[in-house]
């Protein structure tokens, strides 16, 4: 394994083929504590938890398919996946950035409190579930394609943007139960969605000036990651989904 590792200045290259996640993550820890500023992981095949327990900003480029819980509890690193990501990407993330040049699986950004996730293509079920925000932290998820059911379920804070760039003319987003249990944060949808697809806690509005500022900022970041023109994306109509109540279950109890 050691011969696969080549250090050039602050850039560390690791061939991950055949390396169990525990060893791989131990090597990432070592590399970061030895001052690596950029790490390239080649031949990644499903290794979990990449990016966890790295306490300083470092750039990690992943070639291949990282496993579940990519960047779980992550606090600062910037990860670029040149391929697809699996389930739980950005789980309970505190800070940092994950950029996926492909699809991502279910529950991306689960309970994330901060940091950003950009996915070029589609995401699975329950994307952005229970995302949060706190003081200067605000989790942001931008998805280029579309999403499966329960998008933004239980959302308590943060910003979730669904661009639908791969939807054809006249096609809707197909997710149902969008924003079920939502009690904070905001979802921006580019493209249309029917009322029955939304959770009953969700309100629909036209974006206002400040919404467009937010969209401008994060769609521009998205576009720069994946080589799109932000202005062309932003020209299309967006709708804003917001929680109707911050206390969705306040009237459930007798005493």
């Amino acid at each position: 394994m050691a011969e696969n590792r080549r250090e050039t200045g602050q850039v560390v290259k690791i061939d991950a083929s055949g390396v169990f996640y525990r060893q791989l993550n131990a090597r990432l820890r070592d590399a970061v504590s030895n001052g690596a500023q950029r790490i390239e992981l080649k031949n990644v095949y499903g290794q979990r938890y990449i990016g966890s327990d790295l306490d300083r900003p470092v750039e990690i480029d992943i070639f291949g398919t990282p496993g579940n819980d990519l960047g779980v509890f992550m606090d600062g690193p910037k990860i670029t996946v040149h391929g697809n990501a699996q389930d739980g990407c950005g789980n309970t993330m505190n800070n940092g950035e994950i950029v996926v040049h492909g699809h991502a699986g279910d529950i991306i950004g689960l309970s994330a409190r901060g940091g950003k996730i950009f996915v070029r293509e589609d995401v699975g079920y329950r994307a952005g579930i229970h995302m949060k925000e706190y003081r200067d932290k605000k989790a942001v998820v931008v998805v280029g394609g579309t999403a499966q059911d329960f998008l933004g379920e239980y959302m308590a804070g943060g910003i979730l943007i669904l661009l639908g760039l791969n939807l054809g003319e006249g096609q809707h987003h197909k997710a149902n139960f969008v924003g079920t249990g939502m009690h904070g944060g905001v979802i921006y949808l580019r493209g249309s969605i029917e009322g029955y697809q939304l959770g009953k806690e969700v309100g629909v509005a036209e974006p206002e000036e400040e919404d467009y500022q937010i969209l401008q900022k994060f769609v521009s970041e998205f576009a720069s990651h994946f080589g799109y023109e932000a202005e062309r994306i932003l020209k299309h109509r967006f709708i804003k989904l917001f929680p109707l109540w911050i206390r969705p279950y306040g009237r459930l109890y007798a005493y």
């Binding site: 979990r48 789980n91 949060k132 904070g184 911050i246 969705p248 459930l252």
Partner: protein, 501 residues
């Protein structure tokens, strides 16, 4: 709407003793005592009284007493007063009935049907006052076998992280937000002083308490409140909460009004917003998924601390516990039918789950049968009332027990079951700053440490009587138990013989 609920308690004030000092008015958080300015007299509103005894204990002249309202309904075993009153409450509100503390129904308490052994003639008992007696317990995964190193006289086998506790009694998860910061501090200080552990619950850890980190179990629950790298790093143990005995399968809603500025800092959510804990953890739908979170936490802390997994005791606990151990849990936590809560739907609290004694016995048996009992410690909770219960639990197979209700009683709780109202007159289960002052962390820690000290001495007495000088020798040793008044099936599940046999 006029309420059809009669007062539950009567407040009796002895006019001979009452000096009209109004202490009772200030102490009551339910406005059951008031000052009548017209008559210049302190009076009571019986219907507001919750029976917490705060006024009784603080009345300087012992002028007050609280009695149950003797107002009897016509006898009806089926339609008992509580059942009638619950129907009335729902007819008047149309909501889910909430309650606090643990199941108060008359399910069989198996501790009270188990008795311990003692040495007589054929083996000598030991006097713990004169001879060393060991309660020290190590929580964590134990290896299948150990190899000794020839040259260093040490272990060749690499051990996974172990946490040493001096008394096999831990303080269970009670979140900041449900209980006050002063309660957390009392628990943390007492745990540190006595060499045991306390548990943050799922509401995060206040920065002032990070210094007690190595005696702290931090919880990771479905809401992931306050879970960040610093929180995980500071802990002695990390506990994944799947469920709790008072409300198996149910999530939690900490109402926005309890999310004060301080509570918001530990939960890491904005002030005044509801803190919703989803019923499941949405990254755990299977044992394999549980393994994923267990190892996510181990990765996040570089395999430096044990990871516990807590479930409510339910019908399939034994099979689930086997899965938990195989998923990498270093400590299996079981919370039984009588486990308490800061708020739960009453119908769930009183009807869901199984008694902890049965769950413990079946889990311990199952893990032994599968040859994996050594791979995890077993900690139980839900109805441990005294050191006798602790000894019986250890004999049934527990490595240690958690106490929650007993700890709160030590701090003043009288089980009035109003935790969900946020108006705890004892200042325990509230975030109202005027009330939280009622628990002084210095005195609170003293009372809790005293309780643990008392139980430790008693445990040593129990062990000595059996002729055992280490708790380790009692652990899982069910021959030291006998059943009284139990059926054959109950004895079989408990793995205990009938008294006399």
């Amino acid at each position: 709407m006029k309420t059809y609920l009669p007062p539950k308690f009567l407040i009796e004030r002895d006019p001979e003793r009452c000096i009209q000092c109004q202490v009772c008015i200030n102490q009551c958080t339910f406005d059951a005592n008031y000052y009548d300015a017209e008559d210049d007299e302190v009076r009571s509103r019986d219907k507001n009284c919750i029976g917490c005894h705060r006024c009784v204990l603080f009345c300087p002249t012992d002028a007050l007493t609280i009695r149950r309202n003797p107002l009897d309904y016509r006898e009806n075993y089926n339609w008992r007063p509580e059942v009638i009153e619950d129907v009335i409450k729902q007819a008047e509100t149309g909501g889910v009935l909430l309650t606090g503390m643990g199941n108060d129904k008359g399910y069989r308490i198996y501790w009270d049907h188990l008795v311990l052994n003692a040495s007589q003639v054929t083996n000598p008992s030991i006097d713990p006052l004169r001879e060393p007696m060991e309660l020290t317990t190590y929580l964590g995964r134990k290896p299948d076998r150990v190899e000794l190193s020839q040259d260093t006289v040490g272990l060749k086998t690499e051990l996974t992280p172990q946490v040493k506790i001096e008394v096999p009694v831990l303080f269970t998860a009670m979140s900041y937000g449900a209980v006050s910061l002063n309660v957390h501090e009392s628990l943390a200080r007492a745990a540190t002083e006595m060499g045991t552990l306390w548990n943050t619950g799922e509401g995060g850890l206040h920065p002032n308490l990070y210094k007690y980190g190595s005696n702290t179990i931090v919880q990771v629950a479905s809401g992931r409140f306050g879970v960040h790298p610093g929180y995980l790093d500071t802990a002695g143990v990390i506990e994944i909460k799947i469920g709790q005995g008072a409300k198996p399968g149910i999530g939690g809603h900490l109402p926005g009004e309890k999310v004060s500025a301080e509570v918001s800092t530990t939960r890491m959510i904005p002030q005044g917003t509801d803190a919703l804990s989803p019923a499941p953890q949405h990254d755990i739908y299977s044992i394999e998924d549980l393994a994923q979170l267990v190892y996510a936490l181990k990765e996040a802390t570089n395999y430096t601390k044990p990871v516990a997994v807590k479930i409510a005791a339910v019908h399939n606990s034994a099979a689930i516990a086997s899965g938990m151990v195989r998923a990498g849990a270093d400590i299996v936590v079981l919370d039984g039918l009588r486990g308490a809560t800061g708020a739960a739907p009453k119908i769930i609290r009183d009807n869901v789950g199984i008694p902890i004694e049965m769950a413990l016995a079946s889990v311990d048996t199952r893990l032994r049968q599968e040859g994996i009992r050594n791979q995890a410690s077993v900690v139980i909770s839900g109805g441990i009332r005294n050191s006798g219960d602790v000894a019986k639990a250890v004999a049934l197979g527990a490595d240690a027990v958690y106490i929650g209700t007993a700890a709160l009683v030590a701090l003043g709780c009288t089980l009035c079951q109003q935790c969900h109202t946020g108006k705890c007159p004892w200042g325990i289960c509230t975030t109202d700053l005027a009330l939280t002052k009622r628990v002084n962390p210095e005195i609170g820690a003293r009372r809790l440490a005293n309780l643990l000290r008392g139980w430790s001495l008693e445990l040593k007495d129990i062990l000595g009587g059996m002729g055992i000088n280490a708790l380790e020798s009692l652990r899982g040793n069910r021959l030291h138990l006998r059943g009284v008044g139990l059926t054959d099936t109950e004895l079989e599940i408990l793995g205990v013989r009938m008294a006399g046999s």
